[in-house]
Structures are given as C-alpha cells and as structure tokens.
C-alpha cells in the first residue's frame, strides 16, 4: 500500500519511512510564514516565555500585507512591533512588497517542503509541490521556538482533471465549482490533491489560484506534483526543489473525483458562503457598487492581463469603484512594463499598492451598508468586506472586470463589441 504526495512530504519531515492517515507525527518544519494579522500576538506570547529563543531564524519569513500601508495608529504600533522584532532577531522581513502568499511563491517555497503559515490560505504552496498549512499564532510560536510541531496525517482526496478549460473559463471558476460541489467542509481535515492530464494545461498562476482556495472547502492542504511547469517556475526564480515527490500508484484516497475541465463554466459564489456557487449567468444583472481585482487568489500578472484585455478602450461604469490591486510589487512592476496600468487608469479604475485590501475588509475599499461588491478575493462571508449588511460575490478576473464595465454582474461575453 503506497503513499500519497501529502503523506510523503509528512513522512520526509518526520524522518520516517511510512505514514498513514490518522497517525500523529512530530515534524521538522522548513519555513514559517507569519503576517501582520497575528504576528503582534506571537511576539507578545514569545516575550512572556521563560527562556525565549528561536530555533532557526533562517526559517522565518514575516510579511506585512494585511493593513499595508497601515490605516491607524493602532496598526502602526502593531507593524512597528513586528518590524523592530524582525530587525532585532534577523528575521526575513517584507513590507509593501505584496500579499504574503504571493511573495512566498515568488521567493521562498520549494517542492517537498512542509510549511506552516499563520494564515489560512497557506495551502497555496501546494502549487509548487509543498505541504503548506494554516495555523494560529500559538502553533506558530511553538514552531518558532522548537522548529517543530505535530501534525495529524490527513486523508487525501484526489481530483483527477481531464480535458482543458474552454476559452473564457478560468482556474478560479474550476476551484469555485469544486468547492460548490463538495461544500464548505467537504474536505475538512483532508488534503486535496490535483492530478491528471488536465493539470498539465494549467499555468502556475492557475495552480496557485486552485490550491490557495482549498481551505474554503476546509482542507488542511492542497498539493500538486511539481512537474515541468512547476520546476520551470522555480528555475526562473533561481531556486531548486528540496525533494520532488509523486503519489504512488497504489496510494489510498478517501475519495476520488473526476473533473472534466471542458464542462466548467464561469461561476459566481453568492453571499455569504464560498460554496454557494452558481453559473455566473444566474447572477447576471445584479447591480454592483464596487469591483475588486486582486488578492493572493487572483492578483497575478495573468489576472491583470486578462482584465486589461477586456478593459482596453472601455470605461468602468459610472458610480462603480473598480479597485485593481496587484498581488505583489513584482506583479505591479511587470504590469507597468506591459502598459497594463495605463489601461486601468484610462478606464477609470483605482490602482492601489500590493496588499490584501478589501479581500479581508481592512483599510482599503471597505463597502458600506447595503452595498454589493464583486470580487476576486478569497471569501464572501457576511461582513467580510465591510458592513455586516453588505454583499460579496466571488468571481473570476474576467467576470469581475466585465461587471465593473457594465455596473452589474456580467460575463465578458455580454460586453458589446468595441467600436472601431
């Protein structure tokens, strides 16, 4: 009886030959990411320890992205605490460089690693064949001090992807469709593994979008084999794999789902749950007040290109705020070089620095009572983007952009042809 990809990464981190779902192992962690959502709490707890020490400072990556730039004296104090501590201890530290998971993919994650992040969307790292999982600040503190933690080996679910996504359909439509199908706790405690011929046609940006959102089905992590596409992404950034694992032919899965990529259509997740997924057509015409393109899920250069291609020569609807927030400073610079920012500005979009923005309802773009947002963000929970009585619809970059132009939820194919 073989092991799955997720099981192999845990076995490697635990220094054992074999692990089985349900086993609890002490593991050596490769990287520990934390952001300004909770790092100040970690620091407070650290300072109260009898003998505070950091097991291996080279594993720590701290990123200010949630309230960037800060919006109040309180968040400024929290950032200062984080910045000063990072400097004092020599911790790798970013601020103003983008959303934590995008920076981790661009700069740090390597195939085969086991990574804790004090953020639920840490499962994104599976796009590079790593086991990333979200934890709270106490688990983070324990790992920071000991270099280790315990993990319960999760059962794996395999999603066999077949065919190809049709033009106008995105990886975001795919993962939202899957979450809609299995439900918000359909993969609770489990690892979601994506495999099959269909995976080969998906870009790294697609893969990050897919893995990143798996926590919305409750997953502990999401994984994909680090194939040629992943290895090319890594090589371009001057990194090498720690190890490349493959699921065994006779690995055991708690469930296997066949997903025909050709059958996926543009979808929308309706308020207030990520699994309330319907074909985008069913939401056509719902009036919006704001549109958001960005986040660790859909703020990469590929998303900005897709949006700009739709927006070029068109205008954002009157009374609609269209926020364009690149996922990282690298993405921002690339978009500048490709002339995309000019397209956004000429169309009347609001371009902002790389940060988490309204995806988590912090300083930028918060919506008021009764308002509706269509978003490429990660969540549409009640009150997530602002007032408790407001509405968030999740959709792809294409659908969000088309909606920003028409002022109501729309598909890119609904747009009238451009005048010559």
């Amino acid at each position: 009886m073989g092991m799955t990809l997720a099981e192999k990464i845990i076995a490697s981190a635990a220094g054992v030959e074999l692990v089985r779902p349900g086993d609890i192992h002490t593991v050596e962690l490769d990287l520990l990411m934390s952001n300004d959502g909770t790092t100040h709490l970690t620091i407070d707890m650290y300072r109260k320890l009898a003998q505070p020490r950091i097991a291996d400072v080279s594993k720590l990556v701290w990123i200010v992205d949630h309230n960037m730039p800060c919006d109040s004296v309180k968040t400024a104090a929290s950032h200062k605490k984080m910045r000063d501590f990072a400097r004092e201890h020599g911790i790798t530290f970013y601020e103003g460089k983008g959303v934590c998971h995008q920076i981790m993919m661009e700069e740090h994650v390597r195939p085969g690693q086991l990574i804790f992040g004090a953020d639920s969307h840490t499962c994104a790292y599976g796009a590079l064949g790593a086991f990333g999982t979200g934890v709270g600040c106490t688990d983070y503190l324990y790992a920071m001090v000991t270099g280790k933690s315990w993990v319960l080996v999760p059962e794996s679910l395999r999603f066999d992807l077949k065919g190809r996504l049709r033009p106008g359909v995105t990886a975001r439509d795919l993962i939202l469709t899957i979450i809609g199908r299995i439900g918000a706790n359909g993969a609770n405690y489990k690892a979601m593994e994506f495999a099959g011929e269909g995976l080969k046609s998906l870009t790294m940006s697609d893969r990050i979008a897919i893995c990143n959102l798996c926590v919305e089905a409750g997953a502990k992590t999401a994984v994909m084999e680090a194939d040629e596409v992943a290895q090319a992404y890594l090589a371009q950034r001057g990194r090498t794999p720690k190890a490349i694992f493959h699921s065994d032919e006779d690995a055991v899965y708690a469930g296997v789902y066949e997903v025909d990529l050709d059958s996926i259509v543009p979808v929308v997740a309706k308020p207030h749950f990520v699994d309330q997924v319907v074909p985008a057509e069913e939401c056509r015409g719902i009036r919006i007040d704001e549109a958001f393109l960005g986040s660790c899920n859909n703020g990469r250069i590929e998303d900005l290109r897709a949006a700009a291609a739709i927006l070029r020569g068109r205008k954002v609807a009157e009374r609609v705020r269209f926020l364009v927030v690149p996922a990282s400073a690298q993405v921002f610079r690339q978009a500048m070089e490709e002339g995309l920012m000019k397209v956004f500005l000429e169309a009347g979009a609001i371009v902002m620095n790389a940060n988490c923005s309204v995806c988590w309802g912090s300083c930028q773009g918060v919506i008021g009572e009764g308002e509706t947002l269509i978003s490429t963000g990660t969540r549409n929970f009640k009150g997530r983007a602002g007032h408790p009585n407001s509405y968030v619809y999740l959709a792809s970059s294409e659908t969000v952009t088309a909606s920003a132009i028409l002022g109501h939820i729309a598909l890119a194919s609904d747009l009238p042809p451009m005048e010559e």
Binding site: M45, A50, A118, G134, G136, T138, Y142, A184, N185, N188
Partner: protein, 164 residues
C-alpha cells in the same frame, strides 16, 4: 478532566466563520477584552452582551471555518463561554481553540434537539444530557485534554517544564 456541569445554551447555525466570531475591523483593538463585546456582531450584535460566564454555544457543522485568526477562540473564551458544542469544527479553529484552552465537543445530534436558553448537562468526554435525552460524545485525546485543562498550549508547556 472528569467534570460535569450544567450550562445555559446559545444556539448558532452551520458554517459560523471566524469573521463572524470577530470581524476584521475589531482586530486592531488593544486587548481581547476590548474585542469581546463585538463577538458574533455581524450575525447577532446583541449576543456578546447577553452571554454570561459559564454559558455554552451549540452550533451546526463546520464551526470556525475561514480565517486562522486566533482572536476567534480567544474572544469566545473572554466572554466566559465554557465550551463550544458543534456538529463539526474547521481544523485551524480546532487547533487554535485547544491551544487557548477552549473546550470543544463534537455532537452533531444536539443542535436540532436543543432550544436557545435551555439548560443542558455536559459530562466532559462522555455525554451531553438535554431534556432527559443522553447524547454520547467522544473524549478528546489525553494530550489535548491536558492542554485544555492547563488553559492552553503555552501554559501546558510551562506546567510540563515545572514553571507553573
């Protein structure tokens, strides 16, 4: 931790996410005590003010889904909630709650059986009694119970190292 207690019940539905437990806009407050009055405010703004120490929450499936914010179990604890009983718990919340000494009990059948305001009897690790009906519940593994009874992971480590 062989303990039995009776408690007044507050009921919530399925998929109570951690943005509901404590919304983003209150996370910058200085202390957990400052945040506690805003717990559950997107759903029930009056609830935090009505909860009394020793009460319990009974919810549906997937309690604590979403953001990994550890302030979520902390504010529940700060309100004096003795334990959360739910159909199931999202995994990050599960770990965070244990690490903060908040007792969690899975009991899928209870939510439909209990009305808000009723009293139930909780026999930790064994059963919940509601309106004379006994609902068996699983015990947490000993190592997790040790953390909960110490008041959280940091306190448990201190106790283990002879510091408390």
């Amino acid at each position: 931790m062989k303990e039995t207690f009776t408690a007044r019940v507050w009921t919530l539905g399925d998929d109570i996410d951690t943005d509901i437990v404590i919304p983003t806009e209150y996370l910058a407050m200085k202390t957990i005590q400052d945040m506690a009055p805003y717990a559950f405010s997107p759903l029930r703004p009056e609830l935090a003010g009505q909860i009394r120490p020793g009460d319990v929450i009974v919810a549906g499936k997937n309690f604590g889904c979403g953001s990994s914010r550890e302030q979520a179990p902390e504010v529940i604890k700060a309100l004096g909630i003795r334990c959360v009983i739910a159909g199931s718990f999202a995994r990050i919340f599960f770990r965070n709650a244990i690490n903060n000494g908040l007792l969690l009990i899975e009991c899928p059948a209870l939510r439909e059986a209990v009305e808000e305001g009723e009293e139930i009897s909780v026999e930790v690790g064994s059963a919940i009694v509601c309106n004379g009906v006994r609902y068996p519940v699983a015990a947490l593994p000993d190592n997790l119970l040790e953390i909960v009874s110490a008041g959280g992971l940091v306190k448990a480590m201190r106790r283990r190292n002879g510091l408390e």
